[in-house]
């Protein structure tokens, strides 16, 4: 091998040059094609929006793409949908059934039928939902949500039960339904699968204003599954009733931390009493519960002041820190420091000592006071 053999290198060079050239041309020509199609669509939009009928017969793919594109103006999409159904209606239904075996062609056909509000749309979407093809199902769920009818919602509720697709995504579609659907959701509360009950409760929260629904949510607050109990108390917080307040107060002592956190936040939204019970959560073993308690206490500063002052001397450091943080966030500390003419009041000293050096430093920065002095006070309990 005196030198590399040109017999092999030259053909290889030819192949690679052809590949590069083909790819480069494909990039540029695809873009030219796209630009041309976009320009054609813009012209057609203008024609349709002027109230005229476009005289040219357009390629089916272009029409389908325009119908599926949410930025297409409604009158244009309507006209294109009508044209597609007129010229390709039977073919679209066959494709929507999956007879061609091509997933994305099926999605396009289902999209056109949905946008046309075709009578076939819901059964065909329901059929596609049961296909087990994850990408097809992912495309079908938003289409069912878009229809927003009782029958399409019923299909989505079925999908929620069977876990045909991510339940949160199915629930998001149901939550947007323009028609009230509590009658479809109520049966979910009796399901054996706790996840189904959870989503039933979470979705019913939207209708918590109705007494019957509230009763069901109160009942779900005693569900054996903690996620259902948490969802129930969160839903009840939307309705400021005595039952909601009592349920939330009871769940403050739930053995599961996230139920306690949800109950504390519910009490914030309910704007009710239970200050001592919420304040006691400042010493909870879970950081998340303590954070929820702080949020609730901050939302009701008047109610909490006396309680919080008592917690400044609590044996638990987390509780002391939490009380100091709430008193800082509600402006009590700044008010005390602002009123002080020279010496720092004892209550402010107690807050600083219950907090931390950092709390003292930030208080000094906010109030233009001597940082070192406040930090010293934070280090010594009065």
């Amino acid at each position: 091998m005196n030198h590399l053999d040109a017999r092999y290198l030259l053909p290889l060079l030819g192949v690679l040059a052809a590949v590069w050239l083909a790819l480069a041309l494909s990039v540029l020509l695809t873009r030219v094609g796209q630009n041309t199609a976009a320009a054609l669509l813009r012209r057609l939009h203008a024609i349709v929006l002027r109230g005229e009928e476009p005289s040219v017969r357009l390629p089916r793919r272009l029409l389908e793409r325009a119908v599926a594109d949410p930025s297409t103006p409604a009158p244009v999409a309507k006209l294109f949908t009508a044209r597609l159904l007129e010229h390709h209606g039977a073919q679209l239904v066959r494709e929507a059934r999956g007879e061609t075996g091509r997933r994305w062609r099926r999605v396009r056909a289902l999209t056109v039928l949905t946008r046309a509000r075709s009578a076939n749309a819901v059964p065909l979407l329901a059929e596609a939902l049961e296909s087990g093809d994850e990408e097809l199902v992912a495309a079908v769920v938003p289409l069912l949500g878009e229809l927003g009818e009782l029958d399409s919602s019923a299909v989505l509720v079925r999908a929620l039960r069977t876990n045909a697709f991510a339940r949160s995504r199915v629930a998001a579609q149901l939550d947007e339904s323009s028609r009230p659907i509590p009658q479809l959701l109520l049966p979910l509360l009796g399901d054996g699968d706790s996840q189904v009950r959870y989503w039933g409760v979470a979705l019913l929260a939207r209708y918590a204003g109705a007494e019957a629904i509230e009763r069901e949510l109160v009942r779900s607050a005693t569900d054996p599954d903690p996620s259902v109990r948490a969802a129930a108390v969160e839903g009840l917080a939307r309705r400021r009733t005595q039952a909601a307040g009592l349920t939330a107060a009871a769940l403050l002592e739930d053995p599961v931390w996230f139920v306690r956190a949800h109950a504390a936040r519910a009490l914030r939204d309910l704007n009710g009493g239970n200050g001592p019970a919420v304040a006691s959560l400042l010493a909870d073993r879970s950081w998340w519960v303590r954070a929820a308690a702080k949020e609730t206490l901050e939302a009701r500063p008047g109610l909490a002041l006396e309680l919080l002052l008592a917690y400044l001397d609590h044996e638990d450091e987390f509780a002391r820190n939490g009380a100091a943080e709430v008193l800082q966030n509600t402006g009590v500390l700044d008010a005390l420091l602002g009123d002080a003419s020279g010496s720092v009041p004892e209550t402010a000293q107690r807050i600083l000592a219950a907090g931390s050096r950092r709390l003292a430093g930030t208080a000094a920065a906010r109030n233009g006071l001597d940082r070192e002095h406040l930090e010293q006070l934070a280090a010594t309990r009065p």
């Binding site: 060079l13 987390f318 943080e325 950092r358 430093g361």
Partner: protein, 470 residues
């Protein structure tokens, strides 16, 4: 002569393997990209954007001496189109006016907040709340000397289930979070991590349509632009399809918070945190046999400023090479180990072959070719032919990445598309030698035990005015 011939043949075999796998990855990426584009077109975006069931996200951005871009970065993060998010900025002991600029722009007030101290970090001086936007928290902390420490500090303050760790010098697209969380929301039980495409731009604070375009930019930026496209769209997308991605980019790392906590957060012991964390997460799940997914998305989510000087570029790439070697050495037990599945048997070995060993093989190849030319074993004409072959091979993979990008976004001006296509075959002779030098420096740094972290010097330009940003 025989030794020389063997060396030349070994180099040819190496190149054939690397290019062959790269082509195969590009082909996989092509199909993955097509699927993602179609899925995206069929997505119910408005529902995700409005829904109370969309999982909230904590966005964490570390900043160290980012006075030029800090305000623009935070504004972009607060403008993310997403139903519920919080933005946590970790000011890592900046010595410039980063904190002052943030304080002024967002009316920051110091307030104590007791964080969950789940990850060890350097001390936090103060926590600031914004009176302009209550979703913004700024943590002012002692300089940790690396990004990992700041990210861990941010995680301690994060309240939401998913944490998106981003760069403090990168401008994010309004739909960055929405487009990435789409796939997480489809399977939150299994998708534990996700990354997406970052674009190199001369003026990241300006949207592409407001810039003079790529053709008017420097060659160095253009080659970085092409390199990023290839890395994100050809390589990461393909590895994502195979669930064996080796690096979730530090500029956009979306992880489930419990996973970050379970693996002990970001490690400050490495020169760079992103690739090492990705390895640790793979190891965590594969050891336990727990199903999981780490995904890459094709959508461009952010624009970042690449170095505009050769010195700063080599410094940045030397650090990247160093961390690659550090990670590969640390996790060497995973390579060729069937216990770690496709990651251990395919993607990690390919990383070793194409990235870790590259500088050494390139050095050997150069020495061999020089020796071969001196003794007359290689004719310069053949040498030139081989260079053209390699240029075309790289260019083909690059142009395919441009094609993937344009199919998804159609954002390039036509003149820029032509420019990128024309530029692609020149990369080997114009840009690669710089990277070769940087990789060698990185390799020597690794053998010296150098683990210091420094970001590249900020490109010399003024902070953008509000008018420009508008």
């Amino acid at each position: 002569m025989t030794v020389l011939r063997d060396f030349v043949l070994a180099c040819v075999a190496y190149l054939l393997t690397v290019y062959g796998v790269s082509f195969a990855l590009s082909a996989i990426a092509f199909f993955e990209n097509r699927s993602r584009i179609r899925e995206s077109a069929a997505e119910g975006w408005e529902t995700i954007e409005r829904s109370r069931f969309t999982i909230p996200v904590s966005v964490i951005a570390p900043m160290h001496n980012e006075e030029v871009l800090c305000v623009a970065v935070v504004e972009a993060l607060l403008a993310l189109e997403y139903p519920e998010l919080e933005v946590i900025i970790a000011n890592d002991g900046s010595t410039d006016s980063t904190l002052e600029r943030l304080r002024e722009a967002f009316d920051l007030q110091p307030f104590e907040r007791f964080e969950r101290r789940v990850l060890p970090t350097k001390a936090v001086h103060a926590v600031y709340r914004s009176r302009v936007d209550e979703r913004l928290t700024v943590i002012d902390k002692v300089a940790g000397g690396n990004k990992a420490d700041s990210l861990n500090a941010g995680i301690n303050f994060a309240r939401f289930r998913y944490v998106c760790c981003v760069d403090g010098d990168t401008i994010y697209e309004p739909r960055a979070l929405l487009s990435s969380m789409r796939l997480v929301l489809r399977d939150p039980a299994h998708v534990v991590g996700l990354t997406s495409q970052i674009v190199v731009a001369t003026h990241p604070e300006l949207p592409y349509r407001h810039t003079p375009g790529l053709a008017a930019s420097t060659l160095l930026h253009n080659f970085q632009h092409l390199e990023y496209l290839r890395s994100f769209l050809s390589a990461r997308l393909a590895w994502s399809r195979l669930n064996s991605i080796v690096c979730t980019s530090g500029a956009f790392m979306l992880y489930r918070r419990d996973v970050l906590e379970a693996v002990g957060g970001y490690s400050p012991d490495f020169s760079c945190e992103d690739i090492e964390l990705t390895f640790r997460v793979h190891e965590h799940f594969l050891r336990r046999g727990v199903p999981y997914r780490i995904l890459a998305m094709p959508e461009p989510v952010a624009r970042t400023e690449g170095p505009d000087r050769i010195r700063t570029l080599t410094s940045q790439r030397a650090r990247w090479q160093r961390v690659m070697l550090e990670t590969a050495w640390h996790y060497r037990h995973m390579a060729f180990n069937p216990r770690y599945g496709r990651f251990g048997m395919i993607s990690f070995p390919f990383m070793i072959l194409s990235e870790v060993l590259a500088p050494f093989i390139e050095l050997i190849a150069l020495a061999t070719l020089a020796a071969a030319a001196i003794v007359g074993a290689v004719h310069w004409a053949d040498y030139g032919l081989a260079v053209v072959l390699m240029s075309l091979a790289i260019a083909s993979v690059t142009v395919l990445a441009v094609r993937l990008e344009d199919a998804g976004t159609r954002s390039y001006r036509f003149v820029d598309l032509v420019w990128l296509t024309v530029l692609s075959p020149l990369e080997l002779v114009v840009y690669r030698p710089i990277l070769f030098w940087a990789h060698l420096r990185g390799a020597f740094g690794f053998f010296r035990g150098d683990t210091h972290w420094e970001r590249f010097d900020r490109n010399l330009r003024e902070a953008p005015s509000r008018l420009e940003l508008l």
